[in-house]
Structures are given as structure tokens and as C-alpha cells.
Amino acid sequence: MANRPQKFQPPNRLAKKVKKSGGPSAEKAILRALNAAEDLIDSYQGWAVDDLAELWKAYEDAHAAGHDAAQIDKMFEIAHAIRGEGGSFGFQLISTIGDSLCKFLEGRKELGARESEVVKVHILAMRAVFRQDLKGPQPSMERDLRQLLALLRERMG
């Protein structure tokens, strides 16, 4: 016999604890949040350069190791972190490229020479974004880049 669902009404502690008025307006709170994070956002590029260097090293190690699954997983881990961080710190294009690289790497067990070139193109594209300091929303460039990378994955993958 299938289990019957049991329902519980949890004590609504949060609603009691957080007043819906008395704090700053949503606009003010968000502005304060952006101000509070300003220095961090400015520092991001420094950390990102380290992440990118780590990704490049993983790429070179993968190349030397014959692109086995463990090395591909490592590249995926780094690319996954970069795609989450890039846009959060104002570099939306980094997230776009990171997302494309994750899609390309996820579930792969090996990489041939052609596929390896696809990885390289993604890393070089990220480098170019930082070199050109392409920060903030870049909707048309983002759309073009997304299409271009999808085409690259399709043709080369």
C-alpha cells in the first residue's frame, strides 16, 4: 500500500521574527547591498585571474595526461565555479563563456585533439574579456557570443 502523505504546519518563526516594515525600502536595501559589496566586486578580477590560471593548468595537465575523465572533471569543477562567480561580480560574459564550457565538458569521458581546441578557445575568450575589462551588461555581445560558442560546440564537439 502506498504511503499516505502526512501534513504538518510548521511554526512560522520567520514571520514572527522579521517585521514587514521598519526596515529600508527594497530599493534602498539593494543599493546598500551593492555599496557594501563594492570593494569585493572591484577585487574580483584578481581572484578570477587565479581561477583562470588554475583552469589553464588543468587544461595543460589534461593534455599531458591524455584527457582522462578525472582531468576533465577537474576542468568542469573550475569552469562551474567561474560561471557562477563571473556574472555575480559583474562579468556576465565570463558566466556566458563558463556556461558554454560546462555544457561542453559535462559528462565527457575523454577529449580528442579537436575537442581540446574547443576548451582552449573558451579559456582564451575568458582571458580576452578580462583584458578588455568587459564588465556590466553587454546584451548584444552576450547573445552573439552565446550563439557563436553553441555553434563551435556543435561543429567541433
Binding site: 502526512q6 521598519g22 526596515g23 557594501a36
Partner: protein, 165 residues
Amino acid sequence: MSGYDFETLKVLVADDSRPMRSLIKSFLLGFGVKEMYEAADANEAYEEVKSNEPDIVITDWRMPPTDGLDLVRQIRMDMESPNPYLPIIMLTGFTELHRVKQARDAGVTAFLAKPISAAALYRRLCTVIDDQRPFVRVGEFFGPDRRAKRRSEPYMGVERRRDAQ
């Protein structure tokens, strides 16, 4: 016009990325949150849950070698859990529908896709605070009612709005 007063809120932020933890904590500080804890993986996070009893957990999904979903299951199902009803916001770069369902089936309260923005995080906090859904225990699942369609139910899909940036 005034808004939510987050001053008394205790929030735990779990993410293996130090920059992401710092960014989220800065956003929370800007919203007025005074008490914050952080953890770099699920085990550390669960220890923080037990020792500091936060009001909300914001956790990343992938925190090698652990997993945010394990943290969710521990909070919901473990005998030692201080609050199985604890609101949990799952933060992740995984945005595919099957992943959203997987997070929901683990008992997550709300889902927020990376890259994040201050506006999107603010909205998620508000919807989680307003969430009135009952909890359901069925089979191996214990968590917010997945079938509830109330106005206060947090949006579980991917945040794509441009104004969220």
C-alpha cells in the same frame, strides 16, 4: 516607504567559493542582517546549523567533496537536526529543470540560480519569509509541500529577469 526589517535575522551561508561567500555576506549586510555564519562545505554547514541555529540557510549545491543536497537532507531528516523546518535557499549554477526538481525533491524551500544579484537575493529572502506552505512527509520525502500553489510559495524556477542584475 519602509520594507522588511532583517536586523534580527540569523543567516548561514554555505559555499565552497570564498569570494561567493563574501559577496553574499556583503549583500546580506547591506539588507541589514547582523548575524551571519559561513561554511565551506556541507559538513561544516551542518555543524553551524546545530551550534548556531540560523533562521535561514543559503547553500551552494556543489561543494566538493560534499553536496548541498546532503546538507538539505540532514537538516530535514537527521534526528539531531535542531529545526527540520529550517528555510533553505539552494544557490547553484545548475539551472536545468531536472536539477530544479532534484533540489525540490530533497526538500529545498527556494532555488536561486548563479550568477546572483543583490535584487534577486532580496526577493528570495522576502518570499521565503512569507512562505506559508505546510510540510509534507511521504515515503522518503520530508519538506515544503511540492504541490502547494499559494501566492506566498517561493518561485522555484530559474531567476532570469534582467532587472535582477
